[in-house]
């Protein structure tokens, strides 16, 4: 740290170096937060989480029947014990006088630019657009088949929401006109994962049960931009018509915040990193990552841009969230705290904060550890005993300290 500060003072490196490297370091140290605790609202699995653009309001969709939605204020300190018992439940799905809502919420998402609107999809095969202030559905789109996922474009030139489900095609719904503007056809099986590019707002990536990942330009009507090939075309036998990205269905997709990379996750238990510009597989080996959510969309999350000196990808595996170093594929940390499978993830857009929701109906907040209070005794002891033993006792020591202060 001192070296980083000196380098910043002397202008030896770019000015963003210290914030980003410190942010990266903090993100890699995420642990279960001791100061933020979210109130338990849902009675069943938390299927979806999303943070608004300012990173303050967390919206969660529950798998209860009837479905429920809660909005949490993550910045408001509340509760007598000095804990962040965040937010109030503003609405439940069931109380809103809808006859056809007796289905679990599968995906809930904020409008990317403010908190006035959010969108949900649920087992009832509807994409619903909500007004946050009135907590009323203002628009809905009906689909014939189950919906696996939907994503709203973060771009400013259009307000399209891409919906993927059991229909082998991607439907683009326009929030302005209230109509589905067009469909993208090319997959042979249901679409399980969708992601808008963070660099080019017309580019959409889709992953499907037909094992392929396809990049689309929504302005291009006659077909996809490219189909990603896991072998980069080096297999002589590979036929362009059966180019696949994974050896199993693709149920997780995520663009890096800088838009340069795309990560896909498949039921072949592989995580792949793609160059988003060339569409080439970068062949980074993350090892075998068990896909514990094969029948649904698997959320992936990137460390925010403020922590991208060493970008980290977070992925729910069973009851844990695994964090991988994006470019080396090394496992950084696994976050365990849930009593059931982790179903949802949300990352703060700037801060080093991660929220996860699981089948145990809990939403957990993961934050970097608070700074250790400097203690001369400990410093002396660590010097006397040598750094080798430090790990063996330091955690107990930490807890002692926290108890005392």
């Amino acid at each position: 740290m001192l070296q980083l500060l000196t380098a910043r003072e002397c202008g030896l490196g770019p000015p963003w170096f210290l914030p980003r490297s410190y942010g990266s370091q903090r993100f890699s140290e995420l642990e279960l937060s001791k100061e933020k605790e979210l109130g338990r609202f849902h009675s069943a699995a938390v299927n979806s989480l999303d943070l608004d653009c300012d990173g303050r309001y967390l919206i969660s969709g529950g798998g209860d029947v009837p479905g429920s939605i809660a909005i949490h204020d993550t910045a408001r300190p509340a509760g007598e014990k000095g804990l962040y018992v965040c937010g109030v439940t503003v609405s439940t799905y069931g109380t809103q006088n809808h006859t056809d809502t007796s289905h679990a919420v599968s995906v809930v998402q904020w409008f990317p630019h403010d908190t006035g609107i959010f969108t949900t999809t649920s087992g009832d095969r509807y994409l619903k657009i909500w007004d946050t202030n009135d907590l009323l559905v203002v628009e809905k789109f009906k689909f014939k088949n189950p919906i696996y996922t939907h994503v709203m474009s973060t771009g400013t030139s259009h307000t399209l929401t891409a919906v993927g489900g059991g229909e082998c095609k991607i439907t683009l719904c326009d929030l302005v006109s209230g109509a589905s503007s067009h469909v993208l056809e090319g997959h042979s099986k249901p679409v399980m994962a969708l992601a808008w590019s963070t660099a080019c707002e017309h580019v959409l990536a889709s992953g499907s049960q037909d094992n392929s990942v396809v990049l689309w330009d929504i302005r291009k009507a006659n077909g996809p931009l490219t189909k990603l090939d896991q072998h980069n075309g080096s297999r002589a036998s590979s036929d362009p018509s059966v180019t696949v990205a994974h050896g199993g269905s693709v149920n997780g997709l995520c663009f890096s915040p800088d838009g340069l990379h795309l990560v896909s996750f498949g039921t072949d238990d592989r995580l792949r990193l793609w160059d988003a510009v060339t569409g080439k597989n970068t062949l980074v080996n993350y090892g075998r990552v068990f896909n514990t959510l094969p029948k649904q969309n698997c959320p992936l999350a990137f460390s925010p841009l403020s922590s991208t000196l060493h970008p980290i990808i977070c992925i729910p595996v069973g009851g844990e969230v695994l964090m991988f170093h994006l470019t080396t594929g090394k496992k950084v940390k696994s976050l365990s705290g849930h009593f059931g499978k982790v179903h949802s993830l949300a990352v703060h857009p700037v801060e080093q904060e991660l929220y996860s929701g699981g089948t145990d109906a809990n939403i957990l907040c993961w934050m970097p550890p608070p700074p250790r209070k400097p203690s001369l005794d400990r410093a002396r002891r660590s010097n006397a005993t040598g750094a080798v033993y430090e790990d063996a006792w330091s955690s107990d020591e930490d807890n002692d300290d926290d108890g005392r202060h």
Partner: protein, 834 residues
């Protein structure tokens, strides 16, 4: 079609810091470790082979550590640097006498990076000097920055008791330039002749040496006029014979006199005589007796006059007034009372461009100036400024084509005309009693300046400039603090010791400031600390504390810290009415993320100006900041703020506060403590003495992390911060309607600077002239120093000035096309995305 092969060959064991192409020839110039190398690429062999022949610069001509190299033409290369002065070099193929291949043609002063600075009024005259820690590595230096006019001293002679100085042309070989200086002492006159650069005392026949001179100059008809206490003497320039002499008829002594063209005005008590120089004699033209004694007189030839002056100005005792009289009749044209009871000591009619001014200087350092109508002698538009605290002597001089006025006092000032305004520029000299212009063969366009003890000959720098005086250290200065009590600066600097050839010892490769201290003290580790041992195979940063004299800026003494101990903070403090320098340090183990040991060292400067280590206090982390808080010492150790009492020569922990990520910056005012966090902007703490606790009373809560780089308290409620690209003001929310909101600071303003500000200090480089005009600046301005070497000023303006300037900016933006078509409103906007 071209296949490129990578040609690889080690050049030298060094880090290449910068590469630049040399025009269209296949050559590259490289820079590593202060050496400039030239690589010639030969393309004839099948593999592109880099054939090197390098120019190693001799000890005389090293270039700076570059950030870029641009080859211009004819071997001239610009070496741009962010770590020192940029240079323009000429590369030659043959070595010069000293064995170097590089000749430095020009150096461009650059203060980057400013790591710390001290704003000090060294001579206690209300004139701040900024001393910056600038440069990095062997380009490191202290820089003295001050505004005003600099005098480039060319010669000086020790002479005490001079009461006046004039320059003359005389002698047989009628030179065009001055060759003689006339110096007045009490009761006598000395003549110095200038031959080349030699100055020697001579006697001129016609000059009365046993009388005190009041006025002396060359006058029309190749004569020299000397007005002494007894008589007015006219002397032939060539023969140096006395031609004519006039003494007051009453026999009283002459108190002062002046001459313009052919008219000589002589003051005898309250009588005024006007004489005329005709051929070889002096004639009395008129005589008038004023009601009060005359204190000062000035006669000057103005542009409209035909070779001789028509106006005479006098200042009077008793009724404290200035009068303008018509020459030669000595009719009174105008009387201007000056008010007050301080008598005028010097009066001057000055012509600037098209306007004529009458300047009257009083004995208390006040200057009155009036616009004068040269025909009627009417005075209008009177204004007053305070230039010093001692009597002022006004002298006119010519620099370039322009006439300026030098106000000699304990606060020398040059008055000049610019943009239809009179401007007052400080002269960077402590005290000047008298001056005269000197334009001799070896001293062209110079001034002879006299103070109590010396006669200095020097030339003037450009007017209205910042002057930067470097004090090279050849190592990186990191922190600086000033102690008025001991008249010293303490500088923490860092040099890098490298292994010697056979890696058996660490040596410092170049001479540097900390190596030149003869009686350096050396520190040791605390006994229980086991950090990485120092090896002789790796580079090591060695920190030392250097004690500088505040006036000469010479190193007096030094203290070298123990190996791997880094200085992180430095301040001067008073504990129990003893003055100390408090130094915060950190032990850096390169294998550890965060230092977990540090110290606070207290030094006292003894009477013999030697650093004495008085006290050491171990801390469990890097001591990022040490400040004095009331009569206590406040430090920040990693994430904790700790307050120490000073009791019986020991630091006793009183209380602490630890809810920060890294408490990098601390500022105090009264009971308030402002904490600058690494990434959580501000926190305001208050010290409650009765409970002896530090309590958090206000926080700044932005949604995004703010990585602070510097901060300062503007006043109790407003705080200035910098985050690497912006500066912003936070305000304590003392008027919030909801009680919970009182905790949260407001952020009323923020602005894009585009520079990483390292330090804020209260102070100003511009001296305020009280009474010059009501200043729109409120409060004390804040100076900042940035990584890119910028020194800037943050001031609070009153609302009306602000709205005028904002309007002006808006109007200018509407007319002027901006660079790159970036809209003016957009550029200074806050952009939180790093």
């Amino acid at each position: 079609g071209t296949v490129l092969h990578a040609a690889c060959r080690p050049i030298l064991e060094c880090v290449i810091s910068c590469v630049g192409a040399v025009d269209d020839r296949p050559a590259i110039s490289l820079r590593c470790h202060g050496r400039l190398l030239m690589l010639l690429l030969r393309l004839n062999s099948p593999l592109t082979r880099a054939d090197q022949h390098y120019h190693e610069t001799g000890s005389s001509g090293e270039t700076v550590s570059p950030s870029c190299i641009a080859y211009l033409d004819n071997g001239v290369t610009f070496v741009g640097s962010c770590l020192g002065d940029s240079q323009l070099c000429k590369l030659s193929s043959a070595a010069d006498e000293s064995g170097g291949y590089v000749e430095i043609l020009e150096t461009f002063t650059c203060l980057a990076p400013i790591l710390d600075m001290s704003v000090v009024d060294v001579d206690q005259q209300g004139r701040d000097v900024v001393v910056t820690c600038s440069g990095f590595g062997r380009n490191g230096s202290l820089r003295l920055v001050r505004s005003g006019v600099g005098i480039n001293e060319q010669a000086s002679i020790d002479l005490a008791g001079v009461k006046g100085v004039w320059s003359l042309r005389c002698g047989t070989e009628m030179a065009e330039s001055d060759n003689t200086l006339v110096l007045a002492f009490v009761g006598q006159t000395t003549v110095l002749s200038l031959k080349g650069e030699e100055v020697e005392e001579t006697e001129l026949e016609g000059i009365a040496a046993d009388q005190q001179t009041h006025y002396c100059s060359n006058v029309i008809g190749n004569k020299i006029l000397q007005i002494t206490g007894q008589s007015v003497r006219l002397i032939n320039e060539e023969t140096l014979q006395l031609v004519s002499k006039w003494a007051p008829p009453s026999g009283k002594g002459i108190s002062t006199g002046s001459c313009g063209g052919s008219h000589v005005v002589v003051v005898v008590g309250n009588e005024l005589f006007c004489l005329d120089i005709q051929d070889s004699s002096l004639h009395q033209l008129s005589h008038v007796t004023l009601e009060h004694e005359i204190a000062c007189v000035d006669v000057r030839v103005l542009k409209g006059d035909s070779g001789t002056s028509n106006i005479c100005a006098v200042g009077l005792w008793t009724n404290i007034s200035a009068r303008v009289l018509r020459l030669p009749s000595l009719d009174i044209l105008h009387t201007q009372p000056l008010g007050g009871d301080i008598l005028p000591r010097s009066i001057l009619v000055a012509e600037f461009d098209t306007r004529t001014y009458l300047l009257v200087a009083l004995g208390d350092g006040t200057l009155h100036y009036f616009q004068m109508d040269p025909d009627s002698g009417a005075l209008t538009n009177g204004k007053k400024v305070v230039l010093g605290t001692k009597p002022i002597v006004l002298r006119q001089f010519v620099s370039g084509d322009a006439h300026h006025v030098f106000a000699c006092s304990n606060h020398p000032t040059i008055i000049h005309w610019n943009n239809h305004k009179l401007l007052f520029s400080n002269v960077n000299l402590k005290e000047v009693n008298y001056i005269c212009t000197l334009n001799s063969d070896s001293f062209r366009d110079c001034l002879a300046l006299v103070d109590d003890n010396t006669l200095t000959i020097g030339s003037l720098d450009q007017l209205q400039m910042l002057h930067i005086h470097p004090v090279p250290l050849a190592e990186s200065p990191r922190r600086i603090s000033h102690q008025r009590h001991s008249h010293t600066f303490l500088v923490a600097s860092c040099r890098v010791d490298v292994p010697n050839g056979d890696k058996t010892a660490l040596i410092s490769p170049k001479p540097c400031a900390s190596k030149s201290v003869s009686n350096m003290l050396e520190g040791t580790h605390p006994d229980d600390l086991s950090i990485l041992p120092v090896t002789t195979t790796e580079e090591l940063e060695v920190f030392s504390l250097l004690l500088f004299d505040e006036n000469s800026l010479e190193v007096i003494h030094g203290y070298q810290l123990s190996p791997r101990e880094h200085v992180t903070s430095l301040t001067s403090c008073v504990l129990d009415s003893t003055h100390y320098y408090a130094v915060g340090t950190a032990f850096v183990d390169p294998t550890e993320k965060e230092p977990n040991r540090g110290r606070v060292l207290l030094f006292r400067v003894s009477h013999t100006k030697v650093l004495e280590l008085v006290y050491m206090n171990d801390e469990a982390g890097a001591v990022y900041q040490v400040v004095q808080f009331q009569d206590k010492l406040l430090i920040s150790v990693n994430s904790e703020v700790r307050l120490y009492k000073w009791e019986e020569g020991k630091m006793v922990l009183e209380c602490s506060y630890s809810d920060t990520i890294l408490a990098l910056y601390l500022k105090c005012k009264g009971d308030f403590i402002l904490v600058g966090d690494l990434m959580r902007s501000f926190k305001l703490l208050v010290y409650k003495a009765e409970k002896s606790v530090l309590e958090e009373i206000s926080v700044e809560t932005s949604l995004n992390p703010v990585f602070m780089t510097a901060m300062e308290m503007i006043d109790d409620e407003n705080y200035l911060g910098a985050d690497g690209r912006h500066i912003f003001v936070c305000q304590k929310n003392s008027e919030a309607a909801v009680e919970a909101d009182l905790m949260y600071m407001l952020q009323p303003s923020r602005m894009y600077i585009g520079d990483n500000i390292n330090v804020f200090r209260h102070g100003s480089l511009v001296m305020e002239h009280p009474g010059a005009s009501p200043s729109p600046i409120q409060g004390k301005p804040i100076i900042y120093g940035s990584v890119h070497g910028a020194v800037g000023l943050v001031v609070q303006l009153d609302m009306s000035t602000f709205s005028v300037l904002a309007k002006l900016q808006e109007s200018m933006a509407a007319v002027i096309k901006s660079v790159g078509n970036i809209e003016h409103e957009v550029y200074p906007l806050y952009n939180e995305f790093m």
